[in-house]
């Protein structure tokens, strides 16, 4: 489905609002939307909501051989998917320009910033390392995908626990969560992206643009920073020219926002950990707000299954018992048999090799009388083959036509065996007479 285009008056309305420093959702220019983080029951699973934009993050791990040039480092793999759920224009499996750009940004923000200690992911140098895979799915697109995705990525990584391993000699043992508590990843710092949308060649600036605002913006500046005010990546796109002051101002705003978001992330993580430790309820079910009328919950419900046996019994006794088998398989030839006399198929049969086998066999054994004509052909063909001079072309069909191709100089002989078959119109005549004979053996 195509994206609904933005009408001119909508566009004008939005731009005018920006000029008047108003935003559709009532925010100020520098306001960030609410960030909500919820965790799944699995480790490394979270949903981040940035206003209405929603991203699902899941981290998983696998033991793999390391890359040859980095024998002592684990591998980080990021994959952001724009699920068709997020917006009608997203097609599954398509590598759109936007997707490639976002994936690169995520990689630069989370991998190239070296926020994860990859050396600690090494199990046996040069042989086995952990590959950490971060899957991010955009579930609802309401602008500023990159910020939401970067938060989801780092939150999922912080939340994730990998199985504990021990190495004894060459043996690598991976422990289940029951045997040993899984271990968290070692994370140096938490980079978070903050996006700025520019309008009117950089005259106006909005933090955390919504989807509508993104559609009318002129350019975008993304800054990834951690709470130590270290810039991890910075990228401007859209072809706007920015003044030095503007970039500096943006980085200052970023520092403030990142501090807030980092605090929120840490609080959320602590909360989840506390609940898990205390054996309380956790998972997505708990994150559904109770007061919303669109949400509904039901406690464990018992289902009465006492008399299912009787009910099943009843159905089975009522049903007819399986009937006895009447059809008898008919063997055409070695390796070919048939049951049923339903409709015939248009196929002859495929098996030249089997035909040849049969031919050889019949060449050896005595021909039965009623197949003498057939045999004649068989003999000639074998004879010819031994003579090696003439090409022999055996062909076959329901009408049992036999074409023997003689050398070019002699006229072509076509012998046709007819009648027998054609008169016999019963469905039981199978397209091979020879087969019939074999069946009677």
């Amino acid at each position: 489905m195509k994206e609904t285009p933005l009408s001119n008056c909508e566009r004008r309305f939005l731009l005018r609002a920006v000029q008047e420093r108003k935003r559709l959702d009532g925010r100020q220019c520098y306001d960030y939307r609410n960030v909500r983080i919820s965790f799944g029951a699995d480790y490394g699973c979270c949903i981040v909501e940035l206003g209405k934009t929603r991203v699902l993050g899941q981290v998983s791990c696998e033991l793999v051989p390391p890359k040859p040039n980095r024998a002592t480092e684990g591998i980080l793999f990021f994959n952001l998917e724009l699920s068709p759920m997020a917006a009608p224009a997203f097609e599954p499996g398509r590598q759109s320009e936007l997707l490639v750009k976002l994936n690169r940004l995520i990689e630069r923000c989370l991998r190239n910033s070296k926020c994860i200690d990859t050396e600690s992911l090494c199990v046996v140098a040069g042989e086995k390392v952990w590959q950490i895979r971060v899957d991010l799915h955009l579930l609802n697109h309401d602008g500023n995908i990159i910020d939401a995705a970067s938060i989801a990525g780092i939150v999922a990584l912080c939340h994730f626990r990998r199985p504990d391993v021990s190495v004894q000699g060459e043996e690598v043992t991976v422990y289940t969560p029951e045997e040993r508590d899984p271990v968290p990843l070692s994370i140096h710092h938490m980079p978070v992206c903050v996006s700025f949308a520019f309008f009117q060649q950089g005259t106006y600036l909005l933090v955390d643009p919504s989807e509508r605002e993104e559609r009318v913006m002129d350019g975008l500046l993304v800054i990834a920073m951690n709470k130590h005010r270290e810039i991890c990546t910075i990228q401007s796109s859209g072809g706007i020219m920015l003044l030095k002051d503007q970039v500096l101002r943006c980085s200052k705003i970023t520092a403030v926002k990142v501090a807030e978001i980092t605090e929120l992330i840490q609080k959320a993580l602590e909360n989840d950990q506390k609940v898990r430790k205390e054996g309380g309820k956790f998972g997505f079910a708990e994150s559904i707000p109770n007061q919303k009328i669109t949400a509904f919950k039901m406690e464990r419900a018992a289902v009465d299954t006492k008399d299912v046996e009787e009910q099943a019994e009843e159905i089975i006794t009522k049903a007819d018992p399986p009937s006895e088998v009447f059809t008898k398989p008919i063997l055409h030839t070695r390796g070919t048999a048939q049951i049923g006399e339903g409709i015939e198929n248009a196929w002859g049969d495929l098996e030249e090799s089997e035909r040849e086998e049969a031919a050889e066999e019949e060449g050896e054994t005595d021909a039965t009388a009623f197949e003498c004509q057939k045999m004649e052909m068989e003999d000639t063909s074998i004879m010819n083959e031994t003579e090696k001079d003439e090409p022999i072309v055996l062909s076959d069909s329901e009408e049992e036509e036999v074409v023997i191709l003689e050398p070019q100089d002699t006229p072509k002989k076509t012998r046709t065996q007819t009648n027998l078959k054609q008169e016999n119109t019963s469905k039981k005549t199978f397209n091979k007479k020879r087969k019939k004979k074999r069946a009677t053996h």
Partner: protein, 279 residues
């Protein structure tokens, strides 16, 4: 990670048992292989280079395709072909609309078609064969009669017992004719190969082991009644033009000899098709 996620996957890598038989070194397996080679060589000597292998052809056997044909060669080569057309063609990117119809060829090898490892011949080989198939068929089809249309041929190699491409050309031509596509002539394919050795003579319709050992191979496609060569694809150890010319002559002669059989099968298919409607 460009993995094929639409098929069920097995282990990362696997080898055919033959590899291990060879790896056993001086064991019985290697000896057996040599034996086999010797036997094959002996058979080669006994073989008449001009002999054609038995060919079985049948047209019009698939219920779903507009035209279809099955060709089997004595050595076990089995090719099934289906043809459709004409269909409305998607606009060609080049915009060459006036040039007439397009012939779209597909060639697939069943994974179990070959003797060696299962995944030996990859997509590339299939695509090359498909291109060769198109080259060989295009001159036979009156494409000018089908402007802005698309004709489709797809060939499936079920078992490769040598001369597979040649069999596919014959089968595809039969299938097109069976589909009622207007053609100038049938295209008949024939393969040849030259065993290693300086004085070796070209062999007509080689079997799979012969092909494997061959120093040079050639596949020709001929439109017999027009006496025009529609396809030619060959390569290998160099030889003087005379040797190749001789091969070509031999191959063309082979095509001429196969032609009547293909015509016969087409006639039969037509007769079979006509029978139910008259009855």
């Amino acid at each position: 990670m460009p993995l094929d996620h639409r098929r069920l996957r097995g282990p990362e890598e696997s080898q055919p048992p033959e590899v291990w038989a060879a790896a056993a070194g001086a064991g019985g397996a290697a000896a057996a292989e040599e034996e086999e080679a010797a036997a094959a060589a002996a058979a080669e000597e006994a073989r008449d280079p001009c002999a054609l292998r038995p060919l079985f052809a049948r047209a019009g056997l698939l219920s779903q395709a507009e035209g279809s044909a099955y060709v089997e060669l004595g050595g076990g080569t089995k090719v099934l072909c289906a043809a459709w057309g004409p269909r409305e063609a998607a606009a060609e990117p080049g915009g060459g609309a006036a040039a007439g119809g397009r012939l779209v060829c597909e060639f697939r090898r069943a994974p179990f078609a070959g003797r060696g490892p299962r995944a030996a011949a990859g997509r590339e080989a299939e695509r090359e064969a498909a291109a060769a198939l198109r080259e060989a068929l295009e001159p036979a089809v009156r494409l000018a009669r089908y402007p802005r249309a698309r004709l489709a041929v797809s060939a499936l190699l079920l078992q490769d017992g040598g001369s597979a491409l040649a069999a596919a050309v014959s089968a595809a031509a039969l299938a097109l004719a069976d589909a009622g596509v207007e053609m100038y002539d049938l295209a008949v394919g024939c393969a040849l190969c030259r065993p290693p050795g300086a004085a070796a003579a070209w062999l007509l319709q080689p079997s799979e082991p012969e092909e494997r050992r061959a120093a040079a191979r050639l596949t020709v496609a001929l439109l017999p009644s027009l006496n025009q060569v529609s396809g030619l694809l060959g390569g290998g150890q160099g030889g003087p033009p005379d040797s190749w010319a001789q091969a070509l002559r031999l191959g063309l002669d082979g095509c001429h000899r196969l032609y009547p059989v293909l015509r016969q099968s087409l006639l039969r298919a037509a007769r079979r098709r006509a029978a139910p409607s008259t009855a």
